[in-house]
């Protein structure tokens, strides 16, 4: 168990491409941190630098109390779960799980006990003597988890471990991984491109885009107070509504509708979550609904207001109809962004 510190950690490739711009953050002992972003944003590179599979071009990485920039992956006291599980196909499940222990000169009786314990925890008892190549996707995923937990490491690293599973299994494993991490109390860094995974699993989310950290915060902070228009549109399904607006020093207008009070002056981007727009016959916002998306528990109305697209989240009993409607906005639910920089105001 350990805390992790990154101080201006940076990755540049020999061809000059900067995959990760200098990044600094701390991960507390026992914390579950999720790195999320679109593909190519540098999140996997960041994880691989922490694992030691990728050199750190500049900056300092410490795990526990020691700087590990030049420490071999095997000596960093980490365990990693890979996207395609990376099991040793020629070994049995038992050997796969015990391999890391065997190489750390742990007596074989102890290895057997630990493997048995992990197999119990992950319901792998019936498969211990099968070859890894004979298992299903979900079973392989469990073996990969088992390989990580027997090591009892200071830090768990997960590289999109659920993306090869089908949707149902993914939801189940999501909860299991989170529960397991809670129970073991091991610090974890988890990489995913799935914002739902990020929201549901993380203690803190790190949103990355183009090699830059856009925001670090709790799921609630990232969702309700996105630091940029990128975070606003990446996190949440459906994403936050973003309107072109204008601020005159006291009020913010979208089209001719005054929406929010703010001292800023000039062009702004107004962000409002779909569930923060409430149908209201006396509301100031005139909307034309084009499509109703029925989701059972609730409905999404897609339409436009004065040339700008909008999505509204309404309760299942709301009598939605295609055509014009009016709505109001929940107070304090408006995020304002500088249109030029995309940063939150």
């Amino acid at each position: 168990m350990a805390q992790v510190k990154l101080n201006a950690v940076r990755k540049t490739y020999p061809n000059g491409f900067e995959a990760v711009k200098p990044a600094s953050f701390d991960i507390a002992d026992g914390e579950f941190v999720v790195l999320v972003g679109p593909s190519g944003c540098g999140k996997s590179t960041m994880l691989r630098m922490i694992a030691g599979l990728e050199d750190i071009s500049a900056g300092e990485l410490s795990i526990g109390d020691s700087v590990v920039n030049h420490v071999d992956p095997a000596d960093r006291d980490i365990a990693m779960v890979f996207q395609n599980y990376a099991l040793y196909p020629h070994m049995t499940v038992r050997k796969n799980i015990g391999y890391g222990l065997k190489n750390r000169k742990i007596p074989s009786a102890e290895i057997d006990a630990k493997v048995a314990e992990a197999a119990n925890m992950l319901n792998l008892n019936d498969y211990l003597d099968r070859k890894a190549s004979q298992l299903s996707g979900g079973q392989r995923q469990r073996v990969a988890m088992g390989r990580a937990i027997v090591r009892d490491p200071a830090l768990f690293l997960f590289d999109e471990p659920l993306s090869n599973l089908d949707a149902k299994l993914r939801n189940q494993m999501r909860i299991e991984i989170k529960a397991l991490q809670r129970r073991l109390g091991v610090t974890a860094v988890y990489v995913t491109h799935d914002q739902v995974e990020a929201m549901t699993m993380a203690d803190r989310i790190i949103v990355m885009n183009g090699g830059v950290i856009e925001q670090i915060g709790t799921p609630s902070e990232v969702y309700h107070s996105p630091a940029s228009t990128f975070v606003a549109s990446f996190m949440g399904a459906p994403p936050m509504n973003l309107f072109d607006g204008h601020a005159n020093g006291s009020e913010v207008h979208v089209g001719s509708t005054p929406l929010h009070r703010h001292a800023h002056q000039g062009k702004v981007t107004v962000g409002i979550r779909p569930e923060d727009i409430v149908p209201d016959v006396t509301g100031p916002l005139a909307i034309h609904v084009n499509i109703i998306e029925e989701l059972g528990a609730h409905r999404l109305l897609h339409g436009h207001t004065a040339e700008q697209p909008v999505t509204i989240h309404v309760a299942k009993d709301y009598p939605a109809a295609i055509g014009p409607m009016t709505a109001s906005i929940k107070p304090d639910a408006v995020s304002l962004f500088d249109t030029a920089t995309g940063r939150r105001l």
């Binding site: 890979f82 040793y88 391999y99």
Partner: protein, 293 residues
């Protein structure tokens, strides 16, 4: 796998016919002929033959030169196969780690592939020759009086070196592609599980290369037995004398230089049976221990 069916039972036979014709004419018919003539004593001038039963075989097994060639074949094939596989594996593992200029480096290592065995023999002659070979001059400084074609050991040494050298690129290409087909994440997982590079190689890389290795083992034994003929022939310059030779070269020598067609046929038949047994043994014993992904 999906099975496609033919509605007409003669159609598949028709499709197979060209291949079958070639196999029958160039393999089964000569093989049958060899078996037959191994029981006869041929007149050297082609004026007839006499049935001698198994006498050709019993004579072979009593012949000191045949047994000597048999022993040399065993040692030669073992050495060539082992050395060419081991060196190629080492080169492939090293080449796999090269990042800059990898293509050039790999191409350089594969070049020898284009050299035909007789040409390899000639290159061996040039390098090791008694009167003008640079390697002979080099080893002379260490007190090794190298005599190619005269000293039994020195000639065997040259033959092994040239045969190994000639076979390296093939093995190298296969091992390299085998290495590159091992998923990167599996190697990375090993990197986290095991700090020793040698340990990672023997525990993870080597077993995953085993299917490639098994295939190459068969290819290399066949090569060392049969395809080295050209190297032997050019090295001997037509004067085999008492030099070391494989059973395959001896078949040629006794049959075509010695005009003993019956004895030579008996040798081919023994060789055929040996190769058949070896192949069955390989597939039964070795393949069982290999994991195919």
């Amino acid at each position: 796998m999906k099975r496609a069916g033919f509605s007409d039972r003669w159609l598949p036979v028709l499709f197979l016919l060209p291949q079958l014709t070639i196999i029958v004419i160039f393999f089964y018919w000569p093989a049958a002929h060899a078996v037959r003539s191994s029981f006869f004593l041929q007149d050297p001038f082609g004026f007839g033959e006499t049935f001698v039963g198994i006498k050709n075989y019993t004579m072979l097994l009593d012949s000191a030169s045949y047994l000597r060639a048999a022993w040399f074949t065993v040692i030669f094939v073992t050495l060539v196969t082992f050395l060419s596989l081991a060196i190629a594996l080492l080169l492939a593992v090293k080449a796999d780690k090269v990042i800059r200029g990898a293509k050039t480096y790999r191409t350089l290592l594969m070049w020898v592939y284009a050299v035909a065995p007789p040409v390899a023999g000639v290159i061996g002659l040039v390098l090791f020759d008694q009167s003008w070979g640079p390697i002979k001059d080099f080893v002379a400084q260490f007190g090794w009086d190298f005599r190619l074609g005269v000293n039994y050991f020195d000639t065997a040494f040259t033959l092994v070196v040239m045969s190994v050298w000639k076979q390296l690129p093939v093995n190298f290409i296969f091992f390299l592609s085998g290495l590159q087909s091992i998923p990167r994440s599996v190697r990375e997982a090993a990197l986290i599980d095991n700090r020793s590079a040698a340990g990672r190689f023997w525990d993870v890389t080597f077993p995953l290369l085993a299917p490639t290795g098994f295939f190459l083992l068969i290819i290399n034994i066949t090569y060392a037995l049969f395809d080295t003929f050209g190297i032997f022939d050019t090295t001997f310059k037509g004067e085999p004398g008492n030099n070391p030779m494989t059973l395959v070269y001896k078949v040629y020598l006794d049959g075509f230089r010695g005009n003993d067609l019956g004895g030579s046929s008996a040798q081919s038949v023994i060789l055929m049976v040996l190769v058949l047994a070896l192949t069955i043994f390989q597939f039964r014993m070795v393949e069982r221990r290999i994991h195919y992904t």
